[in-house]
Amino acid sequence: MTQTQVYDHAISVMDLVKRFEDVTAVDGLSFDVEAGEIFGFLGPNGAGKSTTINILSGLLEPTSGKATVLGYDVRSESMRIKERIGVCPQEPSFFPYLSGRENVELIADLHLMPKKERRERTDTLLDLMGLGETASRKVGKYSGGMIRRTSLAMALVHEPEIAFLDEPTVGMDPQSRRATWDLIRSLKERGRTVILTTHYIEEAEALADRVGIIDHGKLIALDTPRALMEEHGAGNLEEVFIKLTGRRIREEI
């Protein structure tokens, strides 16, 4: 039985540090994410975005600091967290010998979804992602964009309360990217919280209620896209990043 936890913030991070031997990937990160918010994590590759998501989704233990997701501690209650979140990893991982439908239904089963609900939700998501007609083909034969969309469907099939979407639109064609944006907006409309990691400036500007800019494991700015642009006298978030770090985000990709 899933217990309901009382919490102030959907996600709360305090002085979070993660070190890998002599590399500090996350360096004293602190921020909160409110329920129903789309929170954009913006930064170049290696900035610490994915490490932070891995800690919040229970894959990695922090070196120090504290983080709670839906009120559950990431160190001691990771199973509780995993029951209620969905993760679309940066590198799509899928079972190549299963069809698109089977991949999505497998994740639904691992979240113990009832059969009828699983079938309906899978159909809806596959249609929404434009995969309805190819759902019975093995994913090993899918294109890169189709794999991305399947991975997103796998993350969302069980209607998670928080969706961690790590670079969800990389490799997608413009049409699929638009469909994905619509899907993310629909999650917000249904009261879901979305943590969106991206290095696409326009994606963060279009979707995020607030953006946290991260560089070398530190949070260097946090506000709404508009407020950040106004504060730094910038025309877009790319300029904000340049003003803050002296570099472009996408040069380092």
């Binding site: 989704s57 229970g58 894959l59 199973m79 995993k82 029951e83 993760v87 990893p89 590198e91 991982s93 899928f94 079972f95 190549p96 010998y97 299963l98 089977e102 239904e105 497998l106 994740i107 089963d109 691992l110 979240h111 113990l112 093995k138 796998m154």
Partner: protein, 383 residues
């Protein structure tokens, strides 16, 4: 542990076996080809004939005052040149060895063996004063030669013992009981290989399991599952269950294919089910070896190579390759092949101490190996 998760993960694993050609080949096609090929190559070759000797188990129960007759009888058996004597204290041990194929026949000298001969020699023409008795005889009919040749040879030795005559031209107070026969058909070289083929198929599951876990870890699939509320125990137990299912299918496949190639198990349906159970413990053992292998290696390529550390000793020491039993006792497959040989070729009863011992060894080793494999994989193998 949730049934829905286990069912779903087992289905996923079985689909991998069926849909990925390399897995399909190793799990299904390879044992099938091996069985058919061996059946075709060795099915026509008999179990051998020619100038060889047969071992007769002698159970001397003679409690009479003339033990010299039993000694003379034993010497007579040796003197035939075709028979070798193995002495036993009791009938049960001798019978077990006959079932195991260690000896070819049993002769049981009754308590009044000496008295009977004495009575005949004292009153050769007065049968009313003879002590009548029966010599027990059992032969392994697995060898048709033994079944046909040993009873008359024993009869001849008895006659020679009593009268030093080569022919039985007179009646005696001793008769040789109708031979108890271990029913079996004529065994071919292939028949002797079949028990090893069952083990052979199961042994290669080490590679399947190691490859499956190593490649899923390599592709980030274990990590993907780890993003769901699935415990590592559920992942491992589902793998154990799916591999047991594959192992059961392999056993059925080898049994079906070997039957088509002429093999006939000298065992009841219960015996066959018993054999399946023993093989499934070997499957369990090799799932454990696979988990250990997957924990030791970094890549799926290395998994293939390292898995042979477990496969080769089992293959060469515990299947159908003739090696010294002392060395073979270190590998679990030996006990499976040994038990299946007794069940299928000798028609040994399920309660046979040797089969029970084999089952016990392979069950303990199987459960222990899979437990170690799970512990090692949980500690080092999840990536």
């Amino acid at each position: 542990m949730k049934l829905q998760r286990l069912r779903s993960l087992v289905a996923k694993d079985l689909k991998r076996v069926v849909r990925e050609p390399a897995n399909l080949f190793m799990a299904i096609i390879f044992p099938l080809i091996l069985t058919v090929a061996f059946g075709a190559a060795f099915g026509g070759i008999g179990s051998g004939s020619g100038d060889i000797s047969y071992t007769v188990g002698l159970v001397d129960l003679d409690a009479s005052g003339s033990p010299e007759w039993a000694e003379a009888f034993r010497d007579g058996i040796w003197a035939t040149g075709a028979l070798v004597v193995a002495e036993y204290d009791d009938n049960e041990t001798a019978h077990d060895d006959l079932l195991q194929g260690s000896i070819d026949a049993i002769v049981v000298l009754p308590e009044d063996f000496g008295d009977s001969i004495d009575s005949f020699l004292e009153h050769p023409n007065d049968s009313g004063l003879w002590v009548n008795t029966t010599i027990g005889l059992a032969v392994d009919q697995g060898s048709m030669i033994v079944g046909a040749a040993v009873p008359p040879m024993i009869m001849q030795v008895l006659a020679q013992t009593i009268s030093e005559s080569q022919a039985m031209t007179f009646s005696l107070p001793l008769e040789i009981g109708a031979p108890t026969q271990v029913a079996s058909s004529r065994l071919t070289q292939f028949d002797y290989m079949v028990p090893g083929l069952f083990s052979y198929a199961a042994i290669f599951l080490t590679m399947n399991v190691a490859l499956a876990f190593a490649s899923e870890r390599e592709q980030g699939l274990l990590r993907r599952i780890n993003l769901t509320p699935t415990s590592s125990s559920e992942v491992i137990v589902s793998s154990v269950l799916s591999n047991i299912a594959v192992g059961a299918f392999q056993v059925a496949l080898v049994y079906g294919a070997s039957s088509l190639m002429g093999f006939r198990a000298q065992s009841s349906v219960l015996g066959v089910a018993y054999a399946f159970t023993i093989v499934l413990f070997l499957v369990l053992c090799n799932v454990g070896f696979g988990l250990i292998t997957a924990s030791l290696v970094k890549s799926s390529g290395a998994a293939t190579g390292i898995s042979f550390i477990f496969i080769l000793p089992q293959m060469f020491l515990g299947t159908f390759v003739p090696v010294s039993q002392e060395m073979a006792r270190f590998v679990p497959s030996f006990y499976v092949t040994d038990a299946l040989t007794s069940l299928f070729l000798r028609g040994a009863p399920l309660s046979s101490p040797i089969i029970m011992n084999d089952l016990l060894v392979v069950a303990v080793v199987g459960v222990a190996t899979v437990a170690v494999g799970i512990a090692v994989f949980q500690r080092f193998g999840r990536g």
